[in-house]
């Protein structure tokens, strides 16, 4: 690497927070009583900031590391050093490429230069004239982990967390050698697990011991003296006193067995990516492509192909939209909700009441008791229901205990926190009462009137309604300012989103307490105006409405249900419909229809299915194929104006652009970013769509329907 070759690239980032490469010469300890075997050059990657700011890798950082490594190569040639090591500042090796910087690369050549720079620098680790070591002391993501993969030997700390190659998730490939080196080091099947399965499963990461077990490191040491023990181990390796075994490694040329394993891993990867993403995003396919071709590549050939892939992917909208979704939304906006009142206004919540003891109420009680660690009282109309509700919570706690997810003490504590009562008097000293009763305005109003008769004037009343007007629910309350919408998503324990609904009279302290409570429940909260179906359900129902309308009009079920596959949504519309439950979907649709008119179609076919007690359209045959049973078809009537898949896709894009445009015009949320955040966290929509609005901009729907983009280009 020559720093001058990359001058154009480094000049693009004058404000880069450079992770420096500090070199210290360390006398190698003697092995088994022998004198020490010379000098070890240990490079520490350190951005000079505290533990809240992980070291990242930008062009200036890489040039500095490359320059330092070259200097070590020269020293090795002069016989001054016996080995070179790289480690990081406490808790981090390196958190990978600086994404916000990479996102700013404007042309393909700059992207290629960035890819080549990484290869040039990291290759030096394999060409120093002396063995190279990386001591993985902490977080190592993407390019950070690839530093280690390019070295000759690796140690890892038992305390290291967040070891991963998340590139496929971000819209890139592990293209600083990872995709070539990892399958050779830990075997193709394990490499697929790390590069694709983990990356595409909510960006799952490995701990130090897990990485060690896979063969990503040769030795495992505890954090208390990790650097000392790693150096000691390196000294033993250099002295020939330590033999390194890599049982998962694949030697070249590939044996027949390894060849077959490689093919199997590629096939498995293809099936996994298809199932997980509908192949809607380009990056995972590129990873598979490099893995498949890379089987016969030399390292140089792979590096060339990696650079092509990275240069191409860095310019894709999917990559930029993922960075937007991941960094700007989930990491940043999700932690500082737009429009939330001053957090200091929040009041303590020391006891929670849950009206109802059904399944939803039980899920609430479990969540509140586990996360807030305050008493939770369930109420219902009779002892049998109450007992059943409390019994459900205790049963769930026992399941967590059996799985080892919580300790016996924590299980006892949580169980003792959840009690039941047949009278709302038990709410007298509660600070927060949430209802989980039948989705009917009068029922909820009645419940809140009863609660209000018991509780203190400050006690917050929260509704989990998904379709009713919170404003209407507040009417008749003695203290309407205390009512707030607190809309969870199913399953409550898992879904990270909470829509917090502000009605016109909702007080600031009440709202602040709702946000503080959401944070304590470890949910990401988005502030939503009181509008029919709020955000997630409104977008989903509009989408399902378009698909069902096309179905009703005569589009065949396969075409209708697969038309949106290019979006890579987590499930098809009909599958989603069955999961939500037909009656629930119809109920929300009706309330939206009442509010918005024919824009939201209420399907007679859907009603016919509900009336016949059907749970869904599809039935799975024994061979896994899906069909609509004849008796279901017999219930349905169709029009004569079918759409093609392409037409339905375009119609749906337009419908979504219209709906989102209307929501923003109505002021349902502060901006398109909140819609995107809601769809990512509440519906699991993919980050490569940026949620939804960047996608609608990208495909032209925003301009077609609204005359302008949601985001500036």
């Amino acid at each position: 690497m020559s720093a001058r070759d990359f001058q154009q690239l480094t000049d693009l980032f004058p404000d880069e927070v450079v992770t420096h490469s500090h070199v210290q010469d360390i006398a190698l300890p003697g092995v088994d009583g022998a004198p020490g075997a010379g000098t070890f050059a240990l490079i520490t990657l350190d951005n000079g900031l505290d533990h809240r700011r992980p070291s990242t890798l930008g062009p200036n950082t890489l040039v500095e590391l490359g320059t330092v490594l070259q200097a070590q190569r020269e020293r090795a040639a002069r016989g001054e050093i016996a080995g070179v090591g790289v480690t990081g500042k406490p808790f981090f090796l390196a958190a990978g490429a600086d994404l916000s910087a990479v996102k700013e690369l404007k042309d393909k050549e700059a992207g290629r230069a960035m890819a080549r720079l990484g290869h040039d620098v990291y290759s030096t680790l394999n060409d120093l004239g002396v063995p190279s070591f990386v001591f993985i002391n902490g977080m190592a993501l993407g390019g950070g982990l690839e530093i280690a993969l390019n070295a000759n030997y690796r140690t890892v700390s038992t305390g290291a967390g967040a070891l991963a190659l998340p590139e496929a998730f971000l819209g890139l490939v592990p293209g600083w050698g990872g995709v070539y080196l990892l399958p050779r080091l830990i075997g193709p099947a394990n490499a697929v697990k790390v590069m694709l399965e983990n990356a595409l499963s909510n960006n799952r990461t490995l701990s130090g011991p897990e990485a060690f077990k896979l063969g990503m490191a040769d030795a495992l040491f505890e954090p208390a003296d990790f650097v000392e023990q790693s150096l000691n181990w390196a000294a033993r390796v250099l002295a020939g006193a330590e033999s390194v075994s890599r049982p998962n490694a694949v030697d070249e040329p590939l044996s027949g067995e390894n060849s077959a394993a490689w093919d199997a891993a590629v096939d498995h990867a293809k099936a996994f990516v298809e199932a997980k993403t509908s192949n809607a995003a380009p990056a995972p396919a590129k990873v598979i492509d490099l893995l498949e071709k890379g089987r016969n590549f030399s390292k140089a050939e792979s590096f060339e192909a990696e650079e092509d892939a990275l240069a191409e992917l860095m310019m894709t909208p999917q990559f930029r939209d993922t960075v937007y979704a991941f960094l700007d939304l989930v990491q940043k906006r999700g932690k500082r909700p737009a429009g939330a009142p001053d957090a200091t206004l929040a009041r303590p919540v020391t006891k929670v009441g849950v009206v109802g003891a059904g399944l939803m109420a039980g899920q609430f009680a479990l969540l509140f008791a586990r996360q807030l660690k305050v008493p939770v009282v369930l109420t219902d109309i009779d002892a049998a229901r109450v007992d059943k509700g409390v019994g459900y919570v205790h049963g769930e706690v026992d399941k967590l205990l059996a799985k080892g997810r919580i300790s016996p003490d924590a299980a006892n504590r949580t169980k003792s926190l959840v009690t039941g009562s047949v009278t709302k008097d038990a709410f007298a000293d509660a600070d927060f009462v949430i209802e989980a009763v039948f989705e009917e305005l009068e029922v909820k109003k009645q419940v809140f009137a009863e609660v209000e008769a018991v509780v203190s004037p400050e006690c917050i009343l929260a509704t989990n309604t998904s379709s009713l007007s919170v404003t209407a629910m507040a009417e008749g309350l003695e203290h309407p300012e205390r009512l707030v919408g607190f809309h969870f998503f199913n399953p409550v324990a898992l879904m990270p989103l909470l829509e917090i609904v502000r009605a016109p009279k909702t007080g600031d302290a009440v709202l602040a307490t709702a946000f503080a409570t959401a944070r304590a429940l470890r949910k990401t909260a988005v502030l939503v105006k009181d509008a029919p179906a709020f955000v997630v359900n409104r977008v989903l129902l509009r989408l399902m409405g378009e698909v069902f309308r096309a179905f009703d009009e005569g589009t065949d079920a396969h075409t209708a249900d697969n038309a949106l596959r290019p979006l890579g949504l987590p499930m098809t519309p009909f599958t989603l419909l069955a999961m939500v439950g037909l009656p629930v979907a119809q109920h929300v649709t009706e309330s939206m229809h009442a509010a918005f008119g024919d824009r939201i179609a209420v399907s007679a076919n859907l009603q016919a299915l509900i009336d016949a007690g059907k749970k869904g359209l599809w039935e799975k045959a024994e061979d896994g194929s899906r069909h609509i049973p004849a008796d279901t078809l017999a219930l349905l009537s169709f029009g004569t104006t079918p759409s093609t898949g392409e037409e339905l896709l375009a119609k749906t894009q337009d419908a979504l652009a219209e709906e989102v445009g209307l929501m923003l015009a109505e002021g349902v949320v502060a901006g398109p970013e909140d819609i995107d955040l809601c769809m990512i966290l509440g519906a699991g929509w993919p980050m490569h769509l940026g949620g939804i609005t960047p996608y609608l901009d990208r495909v032209g729907a925003s301009e077609r329907v609204n005359g302008r983009r949601f985001h500036t280009a």
Partner: protein, 416 residues
């Protein structure tokens, strides 16, 4: 009720220490926590003694003079947890200023002798960079109003000058000569590989420099000459005698020893480096705290039924050269007697207050091993506010037929 009480033999199995550092922003441990220094020692001891199951440790006693911040929170317990010892292993913090580690050893040894413990870890730490001497102390005004302690006696340098007043025969020339010898002896011991084996490497990371590993002591100034020392200032008294050159510096470091009952050592197959004979503490006027080792040693010898002539090796802490010389003069031992501080002392290697006691022991243990002519040795030190501490040890390698190295006759060798 069963009362299975019998006095048991206590043995010193092993001891290690961190390299000592110079206190202050430029010192090797400036950005390293005191408790982490202890942790390194505990983990090294466990590695060096793989036959000892961690769950068999009955106590972890760690001394520190200033028990706040990174030396606070009951450091024996926190260090045990941070070192990865099982939660079932208890620990506590202990303080007797400079004799902290020594007191940790004698206190837990007493527990072993009484039958309450089988195996213990005992040591000390002082990060004098993070905890300057006397920081946060709030001396009772009665010390002054009722003349219980001269406030000047709270400054150790002043007490050293006071000792010169009391013993006019101890001149600055003698203390400087003693100090030069201490540096030379330490340098020779280092060169002969006598120091390094008991040191634990400590990785540290300083801002802007990256990780490094500290394997040698920072304080020693090998090659120090009388001329070098002559010109040093006397910070405690104008035209005084005590200088930075003839006193221990301000240092950072930690030590930990592994002790056991001799039965437990045999059961677990642990080596025995020293056998505890007796110990004693004594008080003296705080204004001349440096004389403390004299009454403490007299007391310990008496309890042991030994005379100073029975002691073949002396490891005395060199807080100040004058304090060592006052001890030697009392017992009629020459300034350059080969029995005294063979590897040099704190004037060279440093004195991180509460840690030093175990350093004396590890050095004595090594000397025992290399000199089987010696049967008994002692470790002794002076303590602020006027105290002395002495521990007498027996050499398990003692072989009666071996003559001391370089001693012409038995008579001349014990000229007490």
């Amino acid at each position: 009720m069963s009362q299975n009480r019998q006095i048991r033999d206590v043995v010193f199995v092993d001891g290690v220490r961190t390299p000592f550092g110079r206190a202050g922003d430029k010192g090797i441990y400036a950005s390293t926590r005191a408790d982490d220094l202890v942790v390194k020692c505990i983990r090294e001891l466990m590695r060096l003694n793989p036959r000892l199951p961690a769950g068999r440790i009955d106590e972890v006693a760690i001394a520190a003079t200033t028990q706040t911040g990174d030396q606070g929170l009951t450091i024996g317990r926190t260090a045990a947890l941070l070192a990865g010892l099982p939660a079932s292993v208890p620990g506590f913090a202990i303080d007797r200023m400079c004799a902290g580690a020594m007191t940790a050893v004698t206190t837990t040894a007493s527990g072993i002798g009484f039958g309450s413990y089988d195996v213990v870890l005992a040591g000390g730490v002082e990060h004098m960079g993070h905890h300057p001497m006397g920081a946060g102390a709030d001396p009772n005004p009665r010390f002054m109003s009722e003349r219980i302690v001269d406030p000047a006696a709270l400054n150790m340098g002043n007490t050293a000058e006071n000792l010169h007043d009391r013993f006019p025969a101890i001149t600055k020339d003698r203390t400087d000569a003693y100090a030069v010898a201490s540096q030379a002896k330490f340098a020779a011991a280092s060169a002969n590989g006598r120091i390094q084996p008991d040191l634990v490497p400590v990785a540290t990371m300083k801002p802007g420099q990256g990780w490094t590993v500290n394997t040698v002591d920072e304080p020693p100034r090998p090659g120090t000459t009388l001329k070098d020392l002559a010109g040093l200032s006397t910070p405690f008294r104008a035209h005084g005698r005590v200088t930075a050159g003839n006193a221990a510096g301000l240092n950072d470091g930690a030590t930990v020893a592994l002790l056991a009952s001799s039965d437990a050592a045999a059961e677990l197959g642990l080596p025995v480096k020293m056998r505890l004979v007796q110990f004693a503490y004594a008080g003296v006027d705080p204004e001349v705290m440096g004389i403390g080792p004299v009454p403490a040693t007299e007391k310990a010898l008496k309890l042991a039924g030994l005379g100073i002539e029975d002691i073949g090796l002396i490891e005395i802490n060199e807080a100040f050269a004058v304090q060592v010389l006052s001890f030697l003069d009392h017992f009629g031992i020459a300034d350059d007697d080969a029995r005294v501080n063979r590897y040099g002392g704190a004037i060279a290697v440093g004195h991180p207050l509460a840690s030093s006691g175990v350093r004396l022991m590890t050095q004595l243990a090594r000397q025992f091993e290399e000199d089987p002519s010696v049967r008994f040795g002692l470790t002794t030190m002076c303590i602020g506010l006027g105290m002395g501490a002495t521990v007498i040890w027996e050499n398990p390698h003692w072989t009666p037929t071996v003559s001391p190295p370089g001693s012409p006759t038995e008579d001349e060798g014990s000229a007490a």
